[in-house]
Symmetry: C2
Subunit: 359 residues, 2 copies
């Protein structure tokens, strides 16, 4: 029996995607080999990779003038790779700090640049986003880095920051493909695959071409965006299975209405869950309403001793991985694209029962 | 129909491993989720990861005092990560150059260190290895880096270099798990997984603990061996599916006689193939006999116009990916652990027929 898996990542994948991967795991495209076994430089995989890229461009409406890269090292690796590619030694970089992942990105960037935190929501205990225009982007910044969705505390921007021409960098690991986005507002978007795109081990980088060609000499070659762009992300062996799975996920997104379809589906799930939490009198969500994430929904109960029973009883009911991140406690339901509305409704039903028994 | 796949990597995997992965792809360990969907920090995956590490330690007889790391970025990434972890700025590093991968490692290291090539087989067109004792390891070198097996030209060391106490680094991407190795002679061993260990996207690093703690401040955190060792390789989300598959591959190695069993199997395959080539009067292998690889067997025909027909006719006969590397041409049969002796015999039969028709 398949469960409803609320894991924050690696996370639930569409059942249709897993079924197709299973069907062709021993014999892909009739070639007598698994997709895991074929050379990344052979025609079948090169076409598979190109097709996934074309689907990504179509689904996200990526304009001309952007390169899509399929790399290794995760979003955390990009926290180093981005300053090494887009800034010169001694240059400064702006950050907006809205939670744990922005904080880690800032710490990593400080190895390579001067990091200016131009807006910091730490004082609000990361329960909101700064308002558009409430901060000033530095005129000499190499770029502005922000985190459109913070996975751990469930804080999501409801706007794209204006930068006055400074390149905008978005860490979209936990929000990519969840709704339409105007890529042209960004200098670079990156995302670890393991939430909305496929299995872990792949990080997607979408970068405006005029930002290429600036890698520092000490940038590792496999993370040099310019070299990888020139090599179609095959300077070295890419994570072929994850790339293939991404293609299947994108086919599923297309078959389900594209990003408009995903947005509709995700808004319905989020509205249902937040609506129930707010009216429950038992559960609370600490995030300001305009900044509530569609993807990661943390919630608390008044008595923390009920957290463990909640998580273990939910798991017995087929609702798994509902513990909050170890750094913040509480509960968290990650409801990425692959989670159907039925899963969220099953969760709400369970929450109602649990509240009735323990209220 | 499954084919005999002679790809240099990603490469053939044991059929039993693929069948097991397929069986449990939708429901792993009865948890109602794919192994791709579970949190890397949940108990089931943490146990799976630890079990793969324990199997690696058992199979390779890794002594106490070594850490095993499961990272991203491939062996090419390690060409940067190793100098960043094991050398100070301004320090020098020794290299033995026996082919394309040593050459790339040297070029990448030069971003971070002074690279001394203490033995260079370029003049021999990379057709042999330097004899033990024919080169002098620098007394002040941070380490000596060499490539026990060169995948492209099929050159393999028949000994482990003596270094007089300088840490020895071995890029074992295409030879790891193919035969027993005395790990205690090495400071660090690394290997991309996609030849003998599983799918691409995972690189294994086995490092002596006294070499930890020396990472430069500019070393990216996800490649900092010390941080990753402290975090059991989960500083960030690891490539979970590749790690899981590695565990299945190691179970298969254990069930097939461990590294002694692999060595017996691999020697039989290599002896059969080189024996046929040398006696054929039609095919040639350019590598000196003591340095011939057990894993990658390049071969030539006198008339290069026969190369394309050879490769395409072989593919029709179910013997795939026999083209030589694009940088050197010719043919190459990669016969990693997963290739059975029957596959090599089928190749030899085909080669005989082809020679008879074209000789």
């Amino acid at each position: 029996m398949r469960v409803y898996n609320f894991s924050a990542g690696p996370a639930m994948l569409p059942l249709e995607v897993l079924e197709r991967a299973k069907d062709e795991l021993l014999d892909w495209q009739g070639g007598g080999m698994s997709v895991m076994e074929v050379s990344h430089r052979g025609k079948p995989f090169v076409e598979c990779a190109a097709s996934a890229e074309a689907a990504l461009r179509e689904v996200m409406s990526i304009p001309e003038g952007y390169k899509c890269l399929f790399l290794q090292g995760g979003a955390y690796g990009e926290f180093a790779a981005i300053p090494l590619n887009l800034s010169a030694a001694g240059q400064s970089v702006d950050f907006i700090n809205t939670g744990d992942w922005s904080t880690k990105a800032i710490a990593e960037a400080k190895k390579y640049v001067t990091a200016n935190v131009i807006a910091d929501e730490k004082a609000s205990n990361f329960s909101r986003v700064p308002a558009q225009g409430s901060y000033q982007v530095s005129k000499d910044a190499a770029y502005l880095h922000y985190t459109p969705n913070e996975t751990i505390r469930g804080v999501e921007f409801d706007y794209v920051p204006e930068t006055g021409g400074i390149p905008l960098i978005g860490d979209m690991s936990s929000t990519i493909l969840s709704r339409p986005v105007d890529v042209s507002k960004f200098g670079l978007i990156f995302a670890g695959a393991q939430k909305n795109m496929g299995p872990s081990g792949l990080v997607v980088v979408i970068v405006r071409e005029d930002l290429l060609g600036k890698a520092r000499t000490e940038c590792p070659s496999v993370w040099d965006f310019t070299q990888q762009a020139a090599a179609d992300s095959m300077l070295n062996t890419p994570p072929t299975f994850s790339w293939y799975l991404l293609g299947l996920v994108l086919d599923w997104v297309k078959a389900n209405g594209g990003l408009e379809g995903m947005a509709k589906r995700n808004k319905a799930k989020a509205d249902a869950l937040y609506g129930y939490i707010d009216g429950s009198g038992f559960y609370t969500n600490p995030v300001e309403k305009n900044a509530r994430s569609w993807m990661n929904v943390p919630f608390l109960v008044a008595n923390p001793e009920l957290e463990k029973p909640f998580v273990s009883e939910a798991a017995k009911a087929g609702l798994t991985n509902l513990a909050g991140h170890r750094s913040v406690g509480g509960m968290r339901a990650s409801i990425y694209n692959a989670m159907p509305l039925e899963g969220v409704q099953a969760l709400i039903d369970f929450m109602k029962d649990f509240a009735a028994k323990n209220g």
